[in-house]
């Protein structure tokens, strides 16, 4: 066991995972409590629907619970968790490729605007979300993991099973796409 393994093994998440593996439901609840927001936000920005984000986040935690007995803290817990999350996301895209998309409820897309500035903010948000959804999955996932989840290039490369150089390229392209979209409205 190297130093890095010892370090990760002593993290609170790793300890919680070990407790989950022993069947501790309180530890499982705490783990979900700690990680629900990052996972939900990742899926929300990837799919643009709060309901779908909840379904997929739940699928991630079910897989995490199943994997707990086999979990070894060889990397940061976030790397492990988002590796599962990305696999769940790719499976969802494959499933959607085979089945027609469910119509998104209007309330998922449009929130109520009380003033003109709120309306502009909503418009900006909608355009931003649409441009995120339109870009290739690897570009979007890379920029979300960097900016939303604040992971390092090395961690993103591990999650996405690629090189750091490729991750940087994807993030640069994602930024370029988003900037182009924002230039039209800002």
């Amino acid at each position: 066991m190297n130093d890095e393994t010892v370090d990760h093994g002593q993290s609170e998440d790793a300890l919680l995972m070990q407790a989950v593996a022993r069947g501790d439901e309180r530890a499982l609840g705490e783990l979900i409590q700690r990680w629900q927001r990052p996972v939900l936000n990742f899926f929300y920005r990837s799919l643009g629907s709060g309901g779908d984000a909840e379904d997929l986040a739940q699928a991630v935690f079910i897989k995490l619970h199943r994997a707990a007995p086999r979990y070894r803290p060889t990397a940061r817990f976030s790397t492990y968790l988002f590796h599962i999350a990305r696999r769940v996301l790719l499976n969802e895209f494959r499933r959607r490729g085979r089945k027609p998309l469910d119509p998104v409820a209007p309330e998922d897309l449009v929130a109520t605007a009380s003033s003109n500035s709120d309306l502009q903010l909503l418009e900006l948000e909608e355009i931003f979300q649409r441009s995120l959804e339109r870009m290739p999955e690897n570009h979007r996932t890379a920029i979300l993991l960097l900016k939303q989840q604040e992971l390092s290039y090395a961690e993103i490369a591990e999650i996405m099973e690629t090189t750091e150089g490729m991750v940087k390229t994807w993030i640069f392209r994602a930024r370029t796409i988003l900037k182009e979209e924002l230039r039209n409205i800002l």
Binding site: E25, L28, G29, I32, Q33, Q36, R37, P38, L40, N41, Y44, R45, G50, A53, E54, A57, Q58, F61, I62, H65, R66, L124, E125, F128, I143, L144, K147, Q148, R175, L178, K179, L182, R183, L186
Partner: protein, 126 residues
């Protein structure tokens, strides 16, 4: 189209701001997820139980089907190999007699009687 670097950094800042996590989830989501995990655990345990039960049942069937049969054991064995015992023949005769008593005469036809007789002759000869 050219852009002022100041504008570009403003766009970058806006993108970073828009990518910031929102206040999603809550206690309800945690409770809902824990419930889904409990159901998943129950389903997996049930599936494991049925799989082990099916394997056990298949093993029992396999063992009985491969069990070596010796001459004189109960049951009608394959003709030409071991043949039924006299106890089997006697039992079969009793069964036929009982059936004869229970069934009306017109149902137990002459042809069937002949077939039964042929069978009894076969049993006694073997």
């Amino acid at each position: 189209m050219t852009h002022d670097p100041q504008d570009l950094s403003a766009e970058d800042a806006r993108i970073d701001e828009l990518l910031q996590p929102r206040e999603l989830g809550g206690d309800l989501f945690v409770a809902w997820t824990l419930d889904a995990i409990r159901q998943d655990t129950r389903r997996r345990r049930l599936r494991a139980f049925w799989t082990s039960t099916s394997v056990l049942a298949a093993s029992v069937v396999l063992v009985f089907s491969l069990w070596p049969v010796k001459p004189g054991d109960n049951g009608l064995q394959m003709a030409g190999k071991t043949g039924p015992s006299t106890a089997d023949a006697a039992l079969y005769g009793e069964m036929l007699a009982l059936e004869d008593l229970l069934l009306p005469a017109d149902i137990f036809a002459q042809e069937e009687n002949q077939q039964t007789l042929d069978f009894l002759i076969y049993l006694t000869q073997n």
